[in-house]
């Protein structure tokens, strides 16, 4: 073998070795995520993924929702490239996708099965028909109530109740002397706290945040009626200090048997029916989010924690592999196998709701599916709106405006001023901020 031949053979061998090394290149994926039960469960099950992909290492950055939002917003807006996968909601996805900050998920591995995703959820995470984030779990809102208290008070809550039904039942179930309050609703100020609930409630009364010229609508009769009924019900039949109660506080009250009715995110259903944590697990009924008589609208609440890839990620292929694993039908089956069907992440895939085992393990499955399927986030009010979003307005300024308005209603609930004053203040501050942002035509 002459020298040239040996050199050629050597070069070929080096190229082949390089190719193998590149295919097996070690990758570290940094995943920013929120702290909640489903996400923590996923972190505990990732051995299944790393066994299939031994060259991929996972680094987790778990943060509180608002801290995470601030942290990943800074990173993605500056193209910092600190994260390969972000956990974000359907509030961020359309805004960030429009800025080209997210990688489209249109060439995912086969196991991803995009057609299995529930349509409203996929729509909320798509821009112009392209999916930019994959839902890990999704939620709408519904009524959770104590069947034993309803029976004792001789009231019935229909599957699709009106606000009058809810008020009547709350009044009948209230037994303040024994620490039982007819209704528990969010009162803590925040765009994702009381304003998520109040916006959905206002939708179900026929109200909207803005007209087609971006004029705030807090001076409309629909908003007045919704806000008045909210404060009135909570003052008469709600727990003391309700203006400080968010999801967690109401969850704790309901689990301890202190709430007759709780209207909140559907994800709560698995918590209140879990006998390990809930003292009322075997006596919980479910109903659709209420509507005002004559208004065909059940709030249109839709939220989904989803996984997205920032455009600044250097490991986009590996990130797609992970997202396909974490949000696939196979992942639900893995959870079911390890921890039971009731622990499967809800609200994202049709196949989960077709599963007889899941329906049996999760008594709330049918109502959750009904709630999610009836949520229309592109047209959240019966009146025409210039914005999308169900329990929020999908514009970047909403976080600030929503929280400021939420403080007005929280103050009214705490007895600091009346409902009309809160509505007037909300109207003024929203008008000011939306004008500054340049929306009104």
């Amino acid at each position: 073998m002459n020298r040239t031949m040996r050199a050629l053979l050597g070069a070929t061998a080096l190229c082949a070795a390089g190719g193998i090394a590149s295919a097996q290149e070690n990758v570290t994926l940094t995943i920013a995520t929120v702290n909640n039960g489903d996400m923590i469960r996923m972190q505990g099950l990732t051995q299944d993924f790393t066994a299939q992909h031994p060259n991929i290492t996972l680094e987790w950055v778990t943060l509180e929702e608002n801290v995470l939002r601030q942290r990943v917003t800074t990173d993605i807006a500056t193209q910092g490239g600190q994260y390969d996968i972000l956990t974000i909601g359907n509030y961020e996805v359309p805004i960030w996708a429009a800025q080209n900050w997210l990688v489209p998920l249109n060439d995912m591995p086969e196991s991803f099965e995009p057609d299995d995703l529930l349509e409203p959820v996929a729509d909320a995470l798509s821009v112009d028909g392209t999916l930019y984030a994959s839902p890990f779990y999704a939620e709408s809102a519904m009524v959770m109530y104590r069947t034993d208290l309803a029976e004792a008070a001789s009231v019935t809550i229909p599957d699709s109740p009106t606000w009058t039904d809810i008020r009547t039942a709350a009044e009948a179930m209230t037994d303040q002397a024994n620490g039982v309050y007819g209704i528990c609703l969010r009162g803590k100020a925040g765009w994702g706290e009381n304003m998520a609930f109040l916006t959905a409630m206002a939708n179900s009364y026929g109200a909207r945040w803005f007209d087609m010229e971006w004029n705030p609508q807090f001076d409309s009769p629909e908003w007045t009626e919704a806000a008045t009924d909210y404060v009135d019900m909570m003052t008469q039949f709600g727990p003391p200090g309700a203006s400080n109660n968010g999801f967690n506080e109401n969850l704790s009250l309901f689990q301890q048997g202190q709430c007759g009715i709780w209207i909140d995110a559907t994800v709560a259903a698995s918590f209140v029916t879990n006998p390990t944590d809930s003292t009322v697990a075997d006596s919980v009924g479910f109903a659709q989010f209420p509507n005002k008589e004559g208004v065909d609208n059940h709030g249109n609440w839709l939220w989904t924690w989803s996984l997205a890839i920032p455009a600044s990620s250097q490991n986009q292929d590996a990130a797609k592999e992970f997202i396909a694993w974490a949000t696939s039908r196979g992942y639900s089956e893995l959870v079911a196998q390890e921890q039971g069907w009731a622990a499967a992440p809800p609200g994202t895939r049709r196949s989960l709701y077709d599963s007889a085992e899941y329906q049996e393990a999760a008594p709330f499955a049918a109502m959750t599916l009904t709630a999610i399927e009836s949520a229309n986030t592109s047209q959240s009010s019966v009146q025409e709106t210039p914005y999308s979003g169900g329990q929020f307005v999908a514009i970047p300024e909403f976080q600030g405006i929503g929280t400021a308005v939420g403080q007005q209603f929280s103050a009214a609930l705490a007895g600091q001023g009346d409902v009309q004053q809160a509505l007037n203040n909300a109207q003024q501050l929203t008008q000011r901020e939306i004008s500054r942002a340049g929306y009104p035509k």
Binding site: N35, E59, A77, G81, S252, Q256, D277
Partner: protein, 276 residues
Amino acid sequence: MARAASTRRKAATTLIAWTVGLLIFFPIFWTVLTSFKPEAQAIAMPPRLWNFDWTLENYTAVQERSNYFRHFWNSVIISVGSTLIGLIIAIPAAWSMAFVPGRGTRNILMWMLSTKMLPAVGVLVPIYLLARDTGLLDSRILLVGVLTMINLPIIVWMLYTYFREIPGEILEAARMDGATLRSEILYVLTPMAVPGIASTLLLNVILAWNEAFWTLNLTAARSAPLTAFIASYSSPEGLFYAKLSAASTMAIAPILILGWFSQKQLVRGLTFGAVK
């Protein structure tokens, strides 16, 4: 009569001091207590003081889920590193301001203090971009640098106050004996100001340990300190209060122990020169 009045005054002062002390300590006590409650009883209404099922399950869960020691070492390196570098820069600066004041010294001191009034978020993006371009995002070097700069005004001010209490004649005498500037600061000034330097060091370690804005915003997985460890247990949708309390207790324990053993130096340093 006068003795009775004096006793009454002492009793009242003691009562007020105890009340204030207990009020300040109560949140820490409640956090520690909550860390031993089952999650379902952590935010029960009415709150449970003793009648709950004591458990260590929250500490076990936190240990299983998070790498406490990695966060702990990051906190130690960031807080001690930034404080030591701050002291190295601040001692000569405070010396010059205390013993060789110029016409602009007072203005410089006030300007340094005024930088503390700038909302941190206002400079987040520029600093983030600088860190990105220098490849320092999510590194301990970056946090040491940023926290040094943030705490430098406080370190300079504290040392300046202590140095002002030291008679200039002693330094003059050292100079008469042929001490160089370096020897004067190292062998004359520093030993005399040890209580002040020690309390400055301790206070700034505590400030850097507790700093949450920059440590949360400039870190991801590798250099995240204990502030990020705590933040990973907070959740608006799900009950994690007992685990959050366990994580908080584990995060504040080292600094509480440090404070407990060094309280004499802290008090001595903080009251240094307060009463002549």
